[in-house]
Symmetry: C2
Subunit: 199 residues, 2 copies
Amino acid sequence: MPDFAEPLARLINEFKRLPGIGQKSAQRLAFHVLRVSREDAEHLAQSIVDVKDKLGLCTLCNNISDSDLCPFCRDSARDPKVVCVVEEPLGIIGIETTRQFEGRYHVLHGALSPLRGVGPESLRIKGLVERIGQGEIQEVIIATNPTVEGEATAVYLARLLKPLGVKVTRIGMGIPVGSDLEFSDEVTISKAMEGRREM
Amino acid sequence: MPDFAEPLARLINEFKRLPGIGQKSAQRLAFHVLRVSREDAEHLAQSIVDVKDKLGLCTLCNNISDSDLCPFCRDSARDPKVVCVVEEPLGIIGIETTRQFEGRYHVLHGALSPLRGVGPESLRIKGLVERIGQGEIQEVIIATNPTVEGEATAVYLARLLKPLGVKVTRIGMGIPVGSDLEFSDEVTISKAMEGRREM
């Protein structure tokens, strides 16, 4: 590794710790920071500290929030009878982009992964059971990722929640829209076959 | 755009202003910052401000430096007779990775681009002319990028510097090592043909 001045080397290392940022991207980002005004650099630095200081989790659904309840839990226009369970807050963003779901959310903050030591007690499942216990929820849509971990979590949740008298559904899996059978893997295709619907 | 809590939305926007970071990457980075410890977030923020406060330009070659002279200009083992001219400090890093160049550098901080209003007076050319005027430099290797702007800069510099009695050379252009003729564009191939060498 060639010589960078120390503060620059340190910033490059800090950027490299971010997800998806390798050596070259980190260098490009660091040199970009060098080029912008001190004011712009301060805004970026302040924003980074602010998200740690000013944000917490929604006390109901565990979404990221700057107040007790997140905007989705506060919004009385949203249907409290349907709850969509996602692994991470970013999952909510994905579903919101469709503008079709009008229920509430529940964020687990992870997925079951015995190999990495993530058991049910590490996920925020207890709050979900409590919410169901209050009697208003009729359907729980499990929108964990279609991965080994997400599937295991879905199966676990279905077994746990069905006895509580709610309908438990799983989001559909199959060929992504705009894609091609030719480029889809066998597991996805077999899920697409399983999930076929009459036309 | 779905609702993010304000500090989160602000951080996502700040990240989006960085080069090569789009909406999705910015979201992923911001959520990563949310997940790390406050201490780690502070380190990142502090590093960003530090590069603005602690770094300046080498008074000789304009490379990024935390002291008057950058490590390359300070290093008396490096050959002061050969100067390699690059557009940006990152160009130096690229050349240093080869471990084959043992001369000095000169950073222009840009390339000629009349369309974007970047004329010769916007580049750090004057210092280069002064360095040549001191009589020690024998060869100037122009390592600006093989783009329209970089080429225009190279041509401009060659015309300016040759009359000063130095040898002016341009880095070779051609098919990148490990690549394939099939996937190379016509301009690159024609440069490769022009730059052919006897075996």
